[in-house]
Each structure stands twice: as C-alpha cells, then as structure tokens.
C-alpha cells in the first residue's frame, strides 16, 4: 500500500494536468465547434442560409471525423502537435488532438440545440426585417442557450474521458498516472485513486452544468 501523503503527492500534478488539458481543449473545441454547428444549422434544408452543397460537405466531414477512434486521431495528429507545441508527448501536446477530436462532436451538439428553437420565432423576427446574422446571433443562439449549456456539459465530460485515454500513448494527466503506476507497476491502489479523482471531476462538471441550465430555466420562467 502507498502511504496516504505519498498518494496525494502522486495525484496533485496529474490532476492539475488533466484540468489544464480539459479546460483548454474544451475552450478550443468550443471555438471550433460553435461555428461548425451554426453552419450546419444555417445551411440545412430550410435554414436561413440554405446551401445543400456546403451542408453536405460539412455533414460528411463531421461524420468522418466522428467515426475515427480517438487514439487513431491522436496518432494521425502527431505531426500537427509537433508543429504547434513542438512535441508529441505530454499534456500540452495532447491538447491539440483533444480539441480537434472534440470539435465535430460539439458541432453536432450545437446543431441539435439550435434545431430546438421554434420555427415560428425565426419567422417572427424575419418579418421584422432581421438579417441572417441577426437571426443567428441575436435570436437563435440566445434562445438555444439552455440546450447549448447542457450539450457542452456532455462534451466536456467526453473530453475528460478522451484525455484519460491519451495517457496510453504519452499524454499526461490522470490517465497517464493510472497506466504508468497502476498498470505497468501493478500499484492497483494508485489506479483506483486516479479513477476516483476522475469520477469526482465528472460529478463536479455535471453538477455545474445542471445548475447553470437550471438557472437559465428559472430566470426565463421556462420550468
């Protein structure tokens, strides 16, 4: 058995690394995924910027990226990680494939959330002479906010799961700790401790997401 204080020391840095990876990757993936999702929504049949060619290309691209297992995507993106971060191993290097791997998923999440906005509302603002940009930025996205927040919660937890997987091929963080100590060195207690921290993180993220969604609902008197 590893003594408790040693165990805590072992966990501190990997937990920090995981938090860093997940936070930065979620932010970057959101910045990539939001325009992607809005484009999917706007260019679909009947959308405010209907364009079946653009939609079909984006739709296929998203499906292709999403069908790649994350581990494979990470290997494929090694060269890109090297260009951006200068290395292919460690916490920073993992942020690159994590961000890119999660953005098509976030694109879909955004697309679904926006599709929940009633057509009648869009028609009403069209009748007021709103431009396509105004419809998307001032109406559709704010109206879809609760759905966007709960979708992002789902995506962040997904990214946390991927980040743990990245430990298998040289990423940092809690997944890396679990594999190196728990698997390669047969220290099962370290493995269990890492898993417990990951579970706690997931709980926190889900709780915060639910709380935020609830606050929006209550404010808008939707529930």
């Amino acid at each position: 058995m590893t003594p408790l204080n040693e165990m805590l020391q072992l966990l501190v840095i990997p937990t920090y690394e995981t938090l860093l990876m997940v936070t930065v990757s979620s932010l970057v993936a959101f910045l990539l995924g939001l325009p992607l999702g809005v484009s999917l929504y706007a260019t679909q049949e009947g959308g405010v910027l209907e364009n079946k060619y653009v939609f079909r290309i984006l739709d296929t691209l998203v499906n292709m990226c999403r069908s790649l297992p994350f581990i494979i995507l990470m290997i494929l993106l090694f060269p890109l990680s090297r260009i951006i971060v200068g290395t292919t191993i460690g916490t920073l290097a993992t942020i690159v494939p994590l961000s890119i791997g999660a953005s098509p998923f976030i694109g879909r999440v955004v697309e679904n959330a926006l599709n929940e906005v009633q057509g009648g509302i869009i028609e009403a603002v069209q009748s007021m002479g709103a431009s396509q940009y105004e419809i998307l930025a001032k109406v559709v996205i704010p109206e879809a906010l609760p759905g966007l927040v709960s979708g992002m919660t789902l995506a962040i937890i997904n990214i946390l799961g991927y980040s743990a997987m990245a430990g298998a091929i040289g990423g940092g963080g809690l997944g890396d700790l679990a594999i190196r100590f728990g698997f390669h060195r047969f220290q099962t207690d370290v493995l269990i401790a890492s898993v417990i921290v990951i579970v706690l993180l997931v709980q926190c993220i889900q709780f915060t997401g639910n709380k935020l969604t609830q606050i929006i609902y209550i404010k808008r008197a939707l529930k």
Binding site: E123, S127, M128, G129, K138, P142
Partner: protein, 254 residues
C-alpha cells in the same frame, strides 16, 4: 395602399397539387381594418404571408405604397419588412429576452440608440397597458398579455401596416375582445392600416371596416362589413353568420 392583383400560389405538384391562392385580387385603403375570413385551408394564411414575403407568390402583383413587393433585393426587402408589423396566433415572443427586450428587438436591428429605445419601449408599454411588466419574461405572462407585448413589438418601428395572422384564435372570448379593442385603438390613434385573417365572424363584426371571404384559394365575396352581414351572398358567408347565431343561441340556452 395595398394593391393585390391576380396572385397565385401552388404547393406541391402533380396529383398532390394544391392551389392555395388562385387569382386573388384585393384593394386595401390606407387606415382601413381589412378582415379576411375563411375556413382552414381556404388560403387566407398564405395570402397574408405574401404581403411581407414570408411566402413567395408564383404569379400576379402586389404593391404596397407603390412598392412592388416581389421585386426587391434582399436588403430592400428587409427595409420594407421594417415598415410592416406582424402578430401571430402563438405570439412568438423571444423567451431569452424580457418584455422590454422583446419590444426593443425591432428597434435594435433598426439602429436606434439605447436611450431612444428606452423611451420608446416605455411609451409602448403604456400604450398596450403593461407599464409594470418591462422586466418580466414572456413565460410569466398570460396569453392576452403576451399578445399585447407582441403588438407593442410589432408597432415599435412605427409601421404603416400591421398584419394579424389569427392573433386572437388562441385566446378566450373576453381576452379576444380586449385585444380587438386595442387593435382598434391603435388603428384610430396611429392611423395604422390593419390586415387581419380569422375564422371568427365575431372578429370581423367587431373591428373590421371591410371583409373578404375566401374559399379554395379564391375571394368569393367582398365588401363593407355592414353590407356583407346584412346581405350575404355566398354559402360560406351564410354559414359563418348562421354558425355564429347558433353559438349565440347555445349561450342563451345555458
């Protein structure tokens, strides 16, 4: 003010083809409250939606204040729409904005300053009788209050024309009366032309100056409301009037 000439609109093709509008012509004068009545599927909803081009027509001409509605660039169309207010059966208010924010929306997209918006919104809230609801979200309001907000939003930009698409159909009779009175007041005080569609003869009788009766995509009867009620020609008009009477009888009996 509005001149509609022989407009047509067809949905689908082949056997499932439906002629929603089959050669409709109407003249609507400035300051009038013009009602279009018909059963579901008569084409009245399609007709009103062609006026701000939420619906495109296949043939014919529409001109509003001498502007050819169907020959506008996208930018000109948006400018044109800013001069036409519209209200709907299900209100279509933004749940993400307060009452104040909803009424401010058309002003924001027309480039009004924050200060001017504030004054204008509070004046509109007074006009529709909701001065204390500025900071409330739409879902906290009753149906009648929501429609009042929608009316304030529709006339915020001082349009010359207001389109009402079954605006009282989701409301109870008493609320319907109060909304109709509000529309009448706006029409009188602001000189706004109102085009409304409905399937309730009561609405026509209560506030309209002129009426057109539609069936199968065509106008089958048209004229001053007083004349049409006194001397109905078509079977549809007669049915609407007698349907109303039997409703009244039911009320008396109970």
């Amino acid at each position: 003010m509005i001149s509609i000439k022989q407009i047509t609109k067809t949905y689908g093709c082949g056997e499932s083809e439906v002629k929603a509008l089959n050669g409709v012509s109407l003249e609507i004068a400035k300051g009038e409250i013009y009602g279009v009545i018909g059963l579901s599927g008569a084409g009245k909803s399609t007709l009103i939606r062609t006026l701000n081009r939420l619906e495109e027509i296949d043939g014919g001409d529409i001109s509003i204040d001498n502007v050819d509605v169907n020959n506008l660039t996208p930018a000109r169309l948006r400018a044109q729409r800013k001069k036409i207010g519209m209200i709907f059966q299900h209100f279509h208010l933004l749940s993400s904005r307060t009452v104040e924010g909803n009424i401010a929306f058309p002003l924001e997209i027309s480039g009004w300053s924050k200060k001017d918006i504030k004054t204008r919104v509070s004046r509109l809230l007074d006009l529709v009788g909701l001065p204390d609801k500025a900071l409330v979200y739409p879902n906290q309001l009753s149906g009648g209050q929501k429609q009042r907000v929608a009316i304030a939003r529709a006339i915020a930009n001082e349009p010359a024309l207001l389109l009402s698409d079954e605006a009282t159909s989701a409301l109870d009779p008493i609320t319907t009366r109060s909304i109709l009175s509000l529309l009448k007041k706006i029409n009188r005080d602001l000189g706004l032309t109102v085009v409304l569609i409905t399937h309730e003869m009561d609405v026509i009788e209560h506030i309209c100056d002129k009426v057109a009766v539609m069936e199968n995509g065509q106008v089958i009867e048209e004229g001053l409301v007083v004349d049409v009620i006194k001397n109905p020609q078509s079977h549809v008009t007669k049915a609407f009037l007698s349907g109303k009477k039997s409703e009244v009888n039911l009320h008396d009996a109970s």
